[in-house]
Every structure is written in structure tokens, then in C-alpha cells.
């Protein structure tokens, strides 16, 4: 295929990605090394605000941004090097804590707390999603033809349901004296408050994610199972392979590319974990990297955003995912070399 034809095919898609993904990314990169702030002046202001019956007036000196002739705020942009990164990473404190083996302090620095959770979340849910997905796929595949349809249908529900709604639904079931919390209380004969401590919220988040994503793994694997070579399977039986051996030596190798595919997708999605933090309002106990960036970006009541720290945290998040992707990417690179030759 000539370069021009290739460009004609890929062009529109590339153009959109450049404008809406690459360009914002460049500004994020730039912002992470700069700080833009308004130029403030001190002025004395008298403000009157309503009371229940009569207004109260106060006079105070406040800092106000200076405005130019057009009424726009005058801003100053300065290059600050790695300061925003330092503010996010808090390296001094981190290294001091690491030297003293003080895990608690490390876990109290927001970035490291978020990183810890994000990595544990990603690496712990991955085998669970693959395992549960595979199990359902194998069991469904071995079941009677007539109930396959309904079972697949029900299995797909957690995957298609709107994530925000799904998280909220789970929350209703568990928060306060939610119906499932009560069921557990009745079963274990003790008072349970799942949203009162970090580890229970964390477990709930894992369970929610597996519930939500395992169906995707399941359909992919189920589709893969339909293409297992029956001859191989039969010859394995003739060779006296047990059920487990057939699974281990015939089915799993056949599904391996799909397992890698599911793992890769899950790696990327789980690393961006965000809905769970919002849906379970877990920020007191558990935060994730994307949530940290989001939190920096949200303006406070008076409209101040921490753009520079948000950008630094976003860049660090991106570096993290590239590190995690290096292994699969190297594999892809070798494959590419292989097919090109």
C-alpha cells in the first residue's frame, strides 16, 4: 500500500486523535513545568451580606486579581521546572519514610497512597477477572444447549449496565443498612459497617470491578471456545488425557491470545480506576491515580484549580501506564518484526 493511500485511509481517524488526544496531552505536558497565576493586589473592601433580619457589613483587606483595560485578569506564567512534580511526589518525606520503614507515613502521602491502591487494584483484579471469566465460559460451554442463551444474556448484564448506575446500585445494597449488609449481619450475627474502614471498601471495589468486567472476559473466552479444534480435543481423549489435562494442554493454549487480550484491556481499564472512588465516595480511605488528578483539577468554591499539580500527576500517571505496558509492547514489537520478515 502506498503511503498516500495509507494516509487517506488512516487520515480522518488520525486527525481526530491528534486534535482531541495528542494536543491536550501536549498542553498538559507544558503545564506540568509551568505555573500560571493571577497578579494580585491588596485592596480594602466593604461587603454587606444579608442576616436573618438585617444586613451585616464588614470591612476587610483582601487580595484581588488585577484587571487589565479590557477587564481580563492579568496573569503571569513562570517556568518552575520540576516543582509541581515535587509537590505531587513529596520525595523528601517519601524517602525519609522509606529509610525508616515507616509504611504508614508513605501511605499518608496522597500520591503514593493512590499509586499503592491503583497498582494493587490492577494486579489483584486481573487474575480474578480472567479466572472468573474463564470459569463461566467453560461451564456455560459445557452446559445444555437450551439454557445457554438465557445464561449468556444474564451474564452480559453486569457488563452492559451503565458503570455509574452500577456503582450506585451496589452502593444502595451495601451502604448504611443496605439490604445486603443486613443479610450479612443476620448471617454473621454481628454489626457490620462496610463503608466505615478502608479495607472493606477496597474489597467491595474489587468485587464490583470483577462483577462488572468478568462478563466481558466471559464472552471473549466463550467466543474463543467455539473455535477449539474438536479433532485435537478428541485425540487428547484417545490419548487418555483427563479433563484437567485437556483444559491445561489444549484449551488454555488455544485461548492464550485471548487471555492476553483480556489482560491487556483490563490492565489499561483497571489502571484508570475512577468510577469506584466516586461511586463509593471512598476518598477518605482509598483514592486512585486518576481520582487524584481529577481532584486537583476540580475548582474549589472560589474557582481555584491546581492545574500544574494536576498536569504533573497526569504525566506521572501516564509514565506509570507506559511502564506497565512495556512488557506487552515488547511482545507486540517482536511479533511485528516477525510478520514483517
Amino acid at each position: 500500500m502506498r503511503f498516500k493511500t495509507f494516509l487517506a485511509f488512516v487520515g480522518p481517524s488520525l486527525f481526530l486523535m491528534l486534535i482531541f488526544i495528542a494536543a491536550p496531552l501536549v498542553t498538559v505536558f507544558w503545564n506540568s513545568f509551568h505555573i500560571t497565576q493571577p497578579v494580585y493586589e491588596r485592596v480594602e473592601v466593604e461587603t454587606c451580606t444579608p442576616g436573618f433580619l438585617a444586613p451585616t457589613c464588614t470591612t476587610s483587606v483582601v487580595q484581588q486579581p488585577q484587571l487589565d483595560d479590557e477587564g481580563k485578569v492579568i496573569t503571569e506564567t513562570t517556568f518552575v521546572g520540576l516543582e509541581s512534580y515535587r509537590n505531587v511526589l513529596e520525595p523528601d518525606r517519601f524517602f525519609r519514610a522509606v529509610e525508616n520503614w515507616d509504611w504508614n507515613t508513605v501511605n499518608n502521602i496522597r500520591f503514593w497512597k493512590a499509586l499503592r491502591f491503583t497498582l494493587v487494584f490492577t494486579l489483584l483484579t486481573m487474575p480474578m477477572v480472567v479466572g472468573v471469566g474463564l470459569l463461566i465460559a467453560i461451564v456455560v460451554n459445557g452446559t445444555v444447549q437450551s439454557i445457554k442463551g438465557p445464561v449468556i444474556f444474564i451474564s452480559l448484564l453486569p457488563f452492559i449496565i451503565t458503570p455509574v448506575i452500577g456503582a450506585l446500585a451496589i452502593r444502595w445494597l451495601f451502604i448504611g443498612d443496605g439490604i445486603l449488609t443486613q443479610a450479612m449481619e443476620g448471617w454473621l450475627q454481628r454489626d457490620i459497617a462496610l463503608f466505615a474502614q478502608g479495607w472493606t471498601i477496597e474489597i467491595l471495589m474489587y468485587v464490583y470491578r470483577v462483577w462488572h468486567v468478568a462478563p466481558f472476559a466471559f464472552v471473549v473466552f466463550y467466543a474463543g471456545l467455539q473455535t477449539v479444534n474438536q479433532d485435537t480435543l478428541e485425540s487428547a481423549i484417545i490419548d487418555g488425557a483427563s479433563r484437567f489435562q485437556r483444559l491445561r494442554y489444549v484449551i488454555i493454549p488455544h485461548l492464550m491470545p485471548l487471555i492476553v487480550f483480556v489482560m491487556l484491556i483490563h490492565l489499561m481499564d483497571a489502571y484508570r480506576v475512577f468510577e469506584e472512588v466516586i461511586g463509593f465516595s471512598s476518598q477518605a480511605h482509598v483514592i486512585s491515580l486518576q481520582w487524584l488528578t481529577y481532584d486537583f483539577l476540580m475548582p474549589d468554591e472560589a474557582g481555584t484549580r491546581a492545574i500544574s499539580r494536576a498536569s504533573a500527576s497526569a504525566m506521572l500517571t501516564m509514565v506509570g501506564i507506559i511502564v506497565l505496558l512495556v512488557i506487552p509492547l515488547r511482545r507486540a514489537w517482536r511479533d511485528q518484526r516477525g510478520t514483517a520478515k
Binding site: V10, L16, M17, I21, V28, G149, P163, Q226, T293, L325
Partner: protein, 385 residues
């Protein structure tokens, strides 16, 4: 299909696997079923501590309305009938009545019609008929189960949720159409080009796929709000304010979704033998002609699967739509989230639950109708990594 005896599972395994399946189905369906039940009760019952109260709804029965045993029986029978129709009769009709090549569109129409018919049956035909029959049935006709559709009425009529529904449909349709058009072209181009450039584009797309969305989206907001001021030097007075425009959101969602779409379609095209289009090229076709004549007829399974994923992304999106759309053009998901997040009362919350169930319903129909396509599309190679 006959299974060789040696492949038949032993009894213990059978019991075990059936038990597991039952358990899984309960886990998978329970939250959705439960919020559906809650949405039909008064706030009193919906948030009751006693699960039986939630299911039976004594307060609802007392204050508003209820169902009789006969109505429940008829309702379940009707549901079963509808499911059977959707799985067997409907696919045949679609295949029969749609011209080849338009199959995706045919399915869409079928799904829509099916959804509307279901709604009419349950909302007006069934209550109408049963209101007439109930008094004749004696004890079977007495109301036993508290149930009210007032929250649905409040959501769809008073709160004007139809407008949100329309916006959701517009955004979703736009995203699926554009995403598939340019994604298919790009996927094909990437699959047929063995150059390093194509490879690096894919890798970069993969990294884009992994990016946290909040990073990108929060960057759009100020630019979108001020776009008419920013674009004025270039476009003059025609410069649009992008904030609040559904089409701007469509473009953003398409872009965010592109990496996944092109990866998926590239793998799919990769599995279509290159000899096919090469043969066409030998016959004197250009790349585009080869694509149109040879590839397009065989690409539908993969495209439908990719389309479903685009649909889910656009329909379920919260971050982009909540930040970049204004109240008039709000889609359903942020509208519902908004119902929860403001100073709510308990009846607001049940209304929000009703809305949440409402937006799940189209997804329900979608899966019901497309289930076979999903599996066959994935089998056809869209996911062979």
C-alpha cells in the same frame, strides 16, 4: 448435537457446574433486579430495612396501588413470550425483510420497534385489560403486591426525561456512525500496511487508550466554553460556542473511542485473508474500490461488534457528557447522576432509581436482540489480538 460418551461430564461435575452457574446468574442479575423492584415502590418501602417490605410493598399497596396474583401471572407469561419472540421470531424477520448490506440498520429498527411494543404492552394494554378482568376473579383479583409507576411518570412526564432520552439517542447514533466509518477505514489501512509507521501508530493509539479520561476532558472545558471568543479571529461571527453542543460531544467521544475501535477492527481485518483484496487489485481495482467491493460485504460481523462497543461507550458515558453539555442538551446518565447529587429527598432518589432502570431497559433490549451477533462477531476474529 451428540456428545461422545467420554466427553459427557460425570454427575458430580454436573451438579457442581450447575450450582456455580446458578450462583453466578444470581450474582449477575441481583443488583439490577433489586433496583428495578425498588423503582416501583414508594420511598417508604424502597428504603425499608426489611427485604420483604421492599418486595411486597405494603406501604405502596396502602397508599397507591398494587398488583393482583392474576396480573402477576399474566405479566410473567407475557415476559416469557416476549423473550421467546426476541430470540427466535425477530431475527428471522429481520433477515427476511432487510436488504443485504443494511443488516445493521435493520436490527436497529427491529430493536426500537420491539422496545416500544413491550412498553405499550406493559404500560397500557396490560393494566387496561386486567382492570376489566380483575373484579371477575375473586381472591385472585385482589391486590397483594404493592406497585406504583408514579416514579416513572414523574421522571418521563414531569421531569421531561424524554428530552434527555432524545439527546442520548442523538449522541449515541452520531458516535456509532462516525466512529465506525472512520474507524473501519483506519482499521483496514492499518491492517494492510506492514510498515513501521503503522505499527507505531498502533502503539501510540494503545497508549492513548490507556490515558485517564479526566485528564483530557477537564482540559476541554475552558476551551469549549470560550471557543467563540477563541475562534472569532479565524471564523468571524460564525464562530460557534462548542460548549453544550451535542455534535461537539460526539466528536470528542469519537476521538476518545478511536484507539479501541481501530485496534479492534484492525485485528478483524487482519484475519480476512489479504489474498481477497489483492485479487481484486489484480483485476484493476484501486485500494478504495477493493475495500468497497470485496471487504465491505464480509466485514459486518466485526463492524457490528465494534459498533456495539461504541454504542456502550457513548450511551454510558458520564465524564464527557456531564462536563461538556448544558442542561438543555444533557444526556440521560449525567441527568440521573444530577438527580442524586443535589440536595435530594427520598422521593427524588426513588425517581432517580426509576430513571436508572429506564436507561438500562434499552441496553436490555439491545443485548436480547444482538446477543448472537456479539458472540459470532467475537468468534469471527474481532478479538484475536
Amino acid at each position: 448435537m451428540s456428545v461422545p460418551k467420554s466427553l459427557r461430564p460425570p454427575l458430580r461435575l454436573k451438579v457442581l457446574s450447575n450450582g456455580f452457574l446458578t450462583l453466578w446468574c444470581i450474582i449477575a442479575a441481583f443488583p439490577i433486579v433489586w433496583i428495578t423492584i425498588m423503582s416501583f415502590k414508594t420511598p417508604f418501602d424502597a428504603f425499608s430495612a426489611n427485604p420483604l417490605n421492599v418486595i411486597l410493598g405494603p406501604d405502596t399497596l396502602n397508599k397507591v396501588d398494587g398488583l393482583s396474583l392474576a396480573e402477576i401471572a399474566v405479566g410473567i407469561a407475557l415476559a416469557w413470550l416476549l423473550v421467546l419472540t426476541a430470540r427466535n421470531w425477530l431475527p428471522r424477520q429481520v433477515v427476511h425483510y432487510t436488504p443485504p448490506g443494511m443488516i445493521g440498520f435493520g436490527w436497529l429498527v427491529a430493536a426500537l420497534v420491539f422496545g416500544i411494543v413491550t412498553l405499550i404492552l406493559y404500560m397500557s394494554v396490560l393494566p387496561g385489560v386486567m382492570g376489566f378482568v380483575n373484579p371477575l376473579l375473586g381472591p385472585l383479583g385482589h391486590d397483594v403486591l404493592g406497585l406504583t409507576t408514579e416514579h416513572y411518570q414523574a421522571v418521563w412526564v414531569d421531569r421531561n426525561f424524554t428530552r434527555n432520552f432524545g439527546n442520548s439517542m442523538l449522541v449515541t447514533a452520531g458516535v456509532v456512525a462516525i466512529s465506525l466509518t472512520i474507524g473501519t477505514l483506519a482499521g483496514y489501512g492499518l491492517a494492510r500496511s506492514g510498515t513501521d509507521l503503522a505499527f507505531w501508530l498502533l502503539i501510540i493509539a494503545l497508549i492513548f487508550r490507556a490515558l485517564p479520561h479526566s485528564v483530557l476532558v477537564a482540559g476541554y472545558l475552558p476551551v469549549f466554553i470560550k471557543s467563540s471568543e477563541i475562534l472569532r479571529p479565524i471564523m468571524g461571527d460564525a464562530a460557534p460556542t462548542l460548549y453544550g453542543q451535542p455534535w461537539a460531544v460526539i466528536v470528542v467521544l469519537v476521538s476518545i473511542n478511536q484507539p479501541f475501535t481501530i485496534w479492534m477492527l484492525r485485528s478483524f481485518f487482519h484475519n480476512i485473508p489479504a489474498e481477497l483484496d489483492e485479487a481484486a487489485r489484480v483485476d484493476g481495482c484501486s485500494h478504495f474500490q477493493a475495500f468497497r467491493r470485496v471487504i465491505m460485504p464480509v466485514m459486518w460481523p466485526g463492524v457490528i461488534t465494534a459498533g456495539l462497543f461504541s454504542f456502550l461507550l457513548a450511551y454510558n458515558d458520564f465524564l464527557v457528557t456531564s462536563l461538556l453539555l448544558d442542561g438543555q442538551n444533557m444526556t440521560m446518565v449525567p441527568a440521573i447522576a444530577g438527580m442524586f447529587n443535589r440536595e435530594t429527598t427520598a422521593s427524588d432518589e426513588v425517581q432517580a432509581i426509576a430513571a436508572a432502570v429506564s436507561i438500562t431497559a434499552p441496553l436490555f433490549v439491545l443485548v436480547l436482540v444482538f446477543q448472537r451477533q456479539i458472540v459470532s462477531g467475537l468468534t469471527a476474529g474481532a478479538v484475536k489480538g
